[in-house]
Amino acid sequence: MRSKDAVVIGAGPAGLRAAKSLLEAGASVCLIDRNRKLGGQLIKQTHMFFGSEKQYASKRGIDILEILVDELRPFGDRLEVLNETSVVGLYRDKVLACVRHDRYFKIKARTIIVATGASEKSLPFENNDLPGVYAAGAVQTLMNEYGVKPGDRVLMVGSGNIGLIVSYQLLQAGVKVVALVEAAREISGYLVHASKIKRLGIDIMTQTSIKKAIGKEAVESVEIWSLNDLWEGVPGTEKTLAVDTVCISVGLAPLTELLMQIGADVKYVRELGGNVPVIDYRYQTSVPGLYACGDVCGIEEASSAMVEGSITGINAAIDMGYTFPDSRRKIKDLRDELKFLRSGPHAGKIRTGYAKLGVLS
């Protein structure tokens, strides 16, 4: 069995930065990801980031990915990267069971960092399982990673930042967005994104939702309807739209399966997206030596995931007995950075969520 100081599960923004901190401290690291390419969901993010200068605001996600991966190159043999690898078991004695290209093997670690991210939620409506009903991020992957259009005419459901940004990216790919419906009274993402797509002619309809998808083997049209103040559909307000694709952008849920399997405490916190690990202020879970960071701890965005990854990597390295140069100042700076990223009006949920969990800002 191969043996490492630290295994990081998930090579997205949090995992890449956690690996970097661990490597800087001198630890040996195995970085595992189930995809071919590293970078997690940055790989499809063609838009420029907001957030802070230090976390590459005004750079595109796809370019930030290159920076994060390049940062790991100087560490040579101390870093082992296992792509196309799924972790299928996580055990209390810090043994990970993995599958890569049909081969099963185990790794022994002193420390495990779970940075598995999140998955997109679905929405209940009639025929929501028809082909052509896709998660908004799935459509983003299809377009921006593989260069394939999802269809010709799209209904976007949900006006969070993903819904707004993917709508814009559909236009960039030459796909018509027929309408964007939002069940709430207000647009939930940044107004700057919403204004941009409105100017380009996309109709944003609030207090409106999808009633059903229609089609035999794939979506051929949809029915949308107005919602009342109790979020109920109003009969008689149905409208049929000719679309071949429905994008569902109604939030994400943390991927906590591995944390549950190993028996780490998890708690349901609505504001953070569902079940999240109970972590302390150093990102350690209830299982000593097991840490979690990034979206698996609560749905946020890539900038804060990067910062959390850095903090977690430093803490994990120190706990193993490594020294990290100027660690106290470094961690304080990173915490200030997080506080800044979470200071805006759109971060209210995150602040409430973490308060409920009893940790951090």
Binding site: N35, T46, S119, E120, A138, Y146, V148, G174
Partner: protein, 103 residues
């Protein structure tokens, strides 16, 4: 259904490879996954649900949700949304829970 012009991304000409889907020949690129190649060829229905036999396509496209499972080279339950396309692959709609072919 390939994107031809894009203001930010460049999709370079790549080597075309062929594979079969339910016995018919299809083409895709080396950078494709099985699901992206099928989708680009207009195939959205990948399989049927186990009990109700309802049409199934992909949903998450990043290997989470299992909606894209197909029979690939005789192996059932392959997540086609994250499995790279390879020349000569035999891709089939999966019936039921999937039984491996005899090798």
């Amino acid at each position: 259904m390939r994107i031809e012009n894009h203001p930010i991304l460049k999709f370079e000409e790549k080597d075309k490879i062929s594979f079969t889907y339910n016995g018919k020949t299809f083409h895709g690129y080396e950078s494709d996954t099985i699901a992206s190649a099928l989708h680009a060829s207009g195939i959205k229905k990948l399989s049927e649900s186990i009990h109700m036999k309802r049409p199934r396509g992909f949903y998450c496209a990043i290997g989470n949700c299992a909606s894209c499972k197909m029979l690939v080279d005789g192996e059932p339950n392959v997540r086609t949304c994250i499995t790279p396309l390879k020349a000569g692959m035999v891709v089939e709609s999966q019936i039921g829970k999937g039984v491996p072919h005899e090798k």
